[in-house]
């Protein structure tokens, strides 16, 4: 069988669909589920424009087969509802053309969840996974720091 029926848990919804085994998660999300937030860039694992969350980990969806993601918890940028990092991207002017933005947001969101006390070195390391042609990364770094600082202040109250 070169095709299979799979169940995907995307953004809190469960969807069953037929896919080619050779299909990437990026393709399925965009072409079958209409979730066009994850962007095709290099399709080679380099640029991060296609980043989504799978079981809490940032994953470049162009280098994952859909069949590998079956029954896993997937979150795309559409699944974030006014997450603090989204607000801070606006506040800090962390995008210009916006093509890389969903990928950056998903990566940054995972970083914030996993390392609530991330320091500058960790933030810089994580941001190396994504490529932005417009900004100087500084604004993106500032957006991450703003969320971390605000979360730390909230948790110390």
């Amino acid at each position: 069988m070169v095709k299979n029926e799979v169940t995907l848990h995307v953004n809190g919804e469960t969807r069953s669909l037929y896919i080619r085994n050779a299909e990437t998660l990026l393709y399925t999300l965009r072409e079958k589920l209409g979730l066009t937030g994850a962007k095709p860039g290099c399709l080679n694992g380099d640029c991060g424009a296609c980043t989504v969350e799978v079981n809490g980990a940032a994953i470049k969806s162009c280098i994952m087969l859909t069949i590998e993601a079956a029954n896993q918890q997937i979150t795309t940028v559409e699944g974030l509802q006014d997450a603090p990092i989204q607000t801070q991207f606006v506040e800090k002017f962390a995008f210009q053309c916006g093509y890389c933005t969903p990928g950056f947001i998903m990566n940054c969101n995972t970083l914030i969840e996993k390392y609530p006390e991330a320091n500058e070195t960790v933030i810089k390391k994580w941001l190396e996974s994504n490529i932005c042609r417009c900004t100087g990364y500084k604004e993106i770094e500032d957006a991450v720091k703003a969320v971390l600082t605000s979360n730390q202040a909230d948790s110390s109250v």
Partner: protein
């Protein structure tokens, strides 16, 4: 998007995986093992890897273990590089893995996938070339355990249908003083111009390289020259470099001459780091 179709199997045991391989073969397919799948997907898109069937090994429990037993560290071939780094049970390997690809890609790239990859770098091989390590291979006759350095010659030597299950490393080798250096043409992520890993055991320095030639390697003659303490560092390095018996890579990332220059500097860093000291750098 991969233009061709393939079957996908995800066996739960080593035996099932081996059987599945044979079944696919009998059906005239050319099966390959699938670990992180990043190379199969990216090269598959360009038709540089073409297959009718993949066997995903990530559900095989032996392929995802990290444990210490009988004086050895056991690492499953399907562990992601992120898991290897986060557990940090083998600092030299963690440091090498931390420089492979980027943080997100490492969630998907696996240890075994890197060791068995088609690209020339295979940086995760270096720590196992320098330590007393063994490759645990699934074969038709059962699990076969072989010294890693004997099994790895330009690439991991695997028979038809065999796959890497685990790599084990002697526990006492995990904490030896080491140094790693990854020199890239530019930027902070991606493939190396030259990656050097060095380890000191019983006052001798061992070195292994990736990116210098068309495969990662360790050369005992080169090490012998490098450890000739009666000579000056410059002489040792000069003689060590002459022992490289394979053509240096000469490509857009760097000419052979430039790689030789970088190699010379890296070896100087290695000697300086270990000079008269028994410490971790």
């Amino acid at each position: 998007m991969i233009s061709y179709d393939f079957e996908y199997a995800k066996p739960a045991t080593i035996d099932e995986a081996l059987d599945q391989f044979q079944t696919f073969e009998k059906q005239g397919k050319n099966p390959i093992y699938f670990s992180g799948g990043t190379e199969i997907i990216t090269l598959g898109r360009k038709n540089r890897i073409v297959t009718n069937a993949v066997i995903d090994i990530k559900a095989i429990p032996e392929c995802t273990v990290i444990q210490k037993q009988e004086g050895k560290l056991v690492l499953g071939a399907a562990l992601s590089l992120t898991e290897v780094i986060e557990q940090n049970v083998f600092p030299l390997l963690s440091e090498i893995a931390m420089e492979i690809a980027d943080n997100t890609a490492r969630n998907k790239i696996t240890l075994g996938g890197n060791i068995c990859s088609n690209i020339v770098y295979k940086e995760a091989v270096l720590p196992f070339l320098l330590t007393e390590s063994e490759a645990m291979i699934a074969t038709k006759k059962g699990l076969e355990r072989r010294p890693f350095t004997k099994r790895f010659n330009q690439q991991l030597q695997l028979g038809q249908g065999e796959f890497l299950v685990q790599v084990t490393t002697k526990e006492s080798d995990l904490t030896l003083p080491f140094l790693t250096m990854k020199k890239r043409k530019q930027w902070d992520v991606g493939y190396p111009l030259l990656t050097t890993a060095a380890l000191q055991k019983e006052s001798r320095v061992k070195v292994a390289f990736s990116g210098l030639c068309a495969f990662p390697f360790r050369n005992e003659q080169l090490e012998h020259r490098l450890n000739a303490c009666q000579l000056s560092n410059d002489e040792r390095i000069e003689q060590a470099i002459r022992e490289v018996d394979t053509p240096l890579l000469d490509d857009v990332h760097g000419s052979a001459e430039y790689r030789k220059f970088v190699l010379k500097n890296s070896l100087m860093d290695v000697l300086n780091a270990f000079e008269g000291a028994d410490r971790r750098w």
